[in-house]
Every structure is written in structure tokens, then in C-alpha cells.
Amino acid sequence: MENGSASLETNVAGIQMKNPVMTASGTFGYGNEYSDFIDLNQLGATVVKGITSVPWPGNPMERIAETPSGMLNAIGLQNVGVDGFIEKKLPYLRDFDVPVIVNICGERREEYEEVTEKLNLTNGVAAVELNISCPNLHCGGMSFGVDPKLTYQLVKAVREKTALPLLVKLSPNVTDITVIATAAADAGADGLSVINTVLGMAIDVNTRQPMLQNVTGGLSGPAIKPIALRMVWQVYNAVKIPIVGMGGIMTSEDALEFFIAGASAVAVGTANFVNPRAPLDIIHGIRTYLDQNGVRSIADLVGSLQT
């Protein structure tokens, strides 16, 4: 903590953090990639790329496309699998003083359970983030996150397997996100990550082919910020557990909007691709804002929207 300045320390869903700024899953690798640019110890937490029970090859290319103030991705959860993660990726991260949150995904409930149990037995995992909202899987993924009953069952099953703090990552591709949020909270989630990407599409008019080989993909970046903020505010008014807000956060002003709407922490995603120092710039900007506005702790800002 800097001398005389507001406290950014916070505990969200049982995750103790120096500050409320994380890096979002799938946008910051496994921590080592950005080591030339950023000191991991300065982050509030880091959420790693989605992990599954076995390694996944991912989707064929093209996997990404740019859209106005946004980008589409259909990576298809390429990852080394939970064993590969524990063996090859986690040791690097364990050397830092930063909570590691492991984003997990699967096609069936059993897979989620299996991955969770392996993480239980591992040192250096601060929390599990249950990805029930990946738009790029044909079965599993988002299909859980758009159905309150399936959400409840899955969260409950994983909850019973672990004492680790459990975040559930919600899909924005739903009619009423508060229904899903409530189901996840009722099933024992410690916190909610809001939001994953919005399902979108782009076409190359010259070839008349989709820009993504998978046809559709997940929209992220500033374009979705208004949608993400609205959902954070809706969820904040519907459930009592804390929210990690994300979706289009590029600057500290963006992050502050999320706190005011009701997020207890934020995650920075696509912004990392544009500015690898974005999370640090955002932490700095939040501190300045709190100081300038006489706000003593970040908690005082959470949900402070004047309506």
C-alpha cells in the first residue's frame, strides 16, 4: 500500500487480494508470457486459461477477428489439460505472491468434478472459476450457463467436491441473468464472474465466408462494456455474493464503472492484448480516484450507484 493512500486490499469470495484487479481467463496465459512487461506480484489475482480434464486441441483457424471496438474469438478451449497445467504451468505461478484462480470447463459434469478434485490436491490454487459460459463448445460450456437448473446442479456438484473458493462465470447470452445468478448462488457459489463473451459473428464479404472457421465466436472488448455493466448491476441487485466484473475494461474509468455498478473486483481481458500494462495502469488509476474522491476503501465504492 502506498503511503497515506486509500486501501485497495480486499477479500472477495474468500480470495485475499492486494487490490481488486485480476487478469481475465484466456487473456493472460499462465503468467509467464508477459513477464518482460509486468510484475505479476502487483496483480490482485490472475485467472488462468480454461482447463479441462484432458488436453484439448482447440478449433481450427481462423480463430479471431476484429470488429468495431471489439474482437471475436473461437479458440475452442485449447489447453494442456489439468495434469499438464499442474505439472508444467502452475510451478511458475507458485513462485509469485499472487492468488491463482483456475478457470475450469468441461463437456459433462463429471469432467468438472474430476478437474476440481485434482486442483484440491494441488498447492498454489487460490480459487476455482467454473466456466459455464464458453460460447465455443458444441456441448457443455455455455449450455450449462443458459439453464438455471443445469447451473444449479453443476455448481452444487462442484461445491460438494471442494472447499476452495468457488466463482461461477456467467454467460451474457441469456434472457435474464439474475435467474442464473440466483441458481449459482443458491447452489453454493462464493462469487460470480460477470460476464463471459457475447456470441457474435462476422463475415468476409469478398469470400462470403465467416471470418471465424467456427462461424460464431465470443465478442469481447469495449463494444460489450455497456452490456457487461448492465448485467453486473442486475446481478448486484439480485444476489448477495460478490461479483467479479469484466467485459471491455480498458481504463481505470471503465473499472470504476464496474465497482459503482456493484462489482467487488474486476478482471481485465482483451485490454491485455492492446496494452500489456493495462492491469497496472488500472490499479494506479483506481488508487488515484479513491484518493481524489476521499473514498477510504474500494468496498465503499461497490454498488454506490446513485439512481
Binding site: 493472460f28 482447440g58 481450427p60 477477428a65 471489439g70 492484448f273 500489456p276
Partner: protein, 274 residues
Amino acid sequence: MPTVTSERPKKFDLVTKILANEQAAQDHYLLRCECPEIAEGALPGQFIHVLISDASALLLRRPFTIYSVEGDQITILYQRVGAGTDTLSHLGRGDSLHVMGPLGNNFSIPPNLDSAIIVGGGAGIASLMLHAAALRKLGTRTLGLVGSINAARLLSVADLEAIEVETHISTDDGSIGHHGFVTEILTQILEQPQVYELHNPVTYACGPYGMLRAVAKISRKFRVPMQLAMENRMGCAMGVCLGCVCKVRTPDGGFEYQRVCTEGPVFDAEDIVW
């Protein structure tokens, strides 16, 4: 053939000022800026990731290979193909640019290489120039096959000749050089390597996907080792988004998706699954 070097220079994320941004041919520009940190370590085939404008609807950075290094300065050679490169082409001396690099792996030169052929299609030649210079510095006989749509878009011939690369030009419309594709020239050369004074040459290529595939097929046919630089669409260019992958053979006979920004951009042509 040894695989690419694994010792990579440190990466930097800098704000620099444009020193020059001038048209090199129709729709093509040479942009020079001062980046001592990047200039110092850059290896042939490595690239920079450029933020073209802040607070803009163009969210992502754009990748460009380092075309040349002079002292503290680096130059890129880019083609205007879309909104990003169009905006870039309108910037001028003194405008600031966010530059990240040097990124990716690099072309490699087998020990005692006698001769080499570089094959550049369109702006693809941009990825090969620094490597051509490295080859020539070692005294390697180097042929440069330069393909373009037409004479007005022909790139880099003078730069290649200045370092004594023997250039062979082809254009789609025949407005200069061979009327046809670089692949035709390559075939002709590899059919009679002795005529061109080539001994166990290695091919290095960069250009459109279709051209690379064709060049790889020809090199394979003539059992000539080949390295190529891929130019996939990129997000982070730092290995985290997994957006830039290409399909690469694994030793077990299967394949995996490797990151062009990290395992590449340079690959052994034998490894690519087309």
C-alpha cells in the same frame, strides 16, 4: 537442418515517434522509427506489434516484420490492405506509435550453408530482407525471387541488389519480369540448380497462404529444406490468446495448433499441415 534458435531477445513495449513514412510502391510504404531497445536485439524474421491509434474503433494491434535495422532505427515495409494499414499510411514524421517487440522466433542458417533462395510474394518480401542481409553477410550465395501483381507494386529489388542478392522478378500481369508466379521461377531454378550455381540450397519464403503452400510443395519435391514465415491474424502476439495458430505435425504422427506469434512466425515447411 537445425531448428530455429531458442535464445530470444528481451521484449519491449515502447512509445516512439515516426521518423519517416514514405511510399515504396503502389499501396506499399516504408515506415522508420527510433527503437534502440528493439533494434539492438532483433533477429531476422522477428516482428513488432503496432498500436495504430489510441481510443479508436480499431481495437487490436497489427503485426509487421522488421524489414531493416540501421543503428537505433528500425524500418517496416507494409502494404495498405485495410483500415489499420490505411490509417498507418496517413501518419507522418513526428506522430507517435506504440510498438512492441521484437517478437517471435527467427530464420536460421544451417552451418556452412552454401546457397539460399528467398521467395517473397507481395509484401512477404518484408519478412525476408533482414534474413537476406544475414545470409549475404556470411557470404552465402543468395537468389531473391520477388513476385508481385504488377510493376507498380514491385518491392525491394534495389534493396536486394544492393546487398548482392541475385533477383528474379515475376508479375501476375507480366508488366515486368517473368509473366506468371514466383513458383514457376522456383521450379525452373530447382530443376537446374547447377545453372544457378546453387549447391544444397535452403529455401526461405513468405507471402500469401496459397503461395507458401505451393512453394513448400515444390521445395519438398526437389528435397530442398525450407523455412517459411506465416502471417496469421493476430490478437496478443504474446502467446496468450491462442488466436494465431497454425496446424503443425507432431512427432507422434498427429498434429497440434502452434502459435505463429510464439512458436513461429518461422516454421520448417515440413512441419506444416496445409
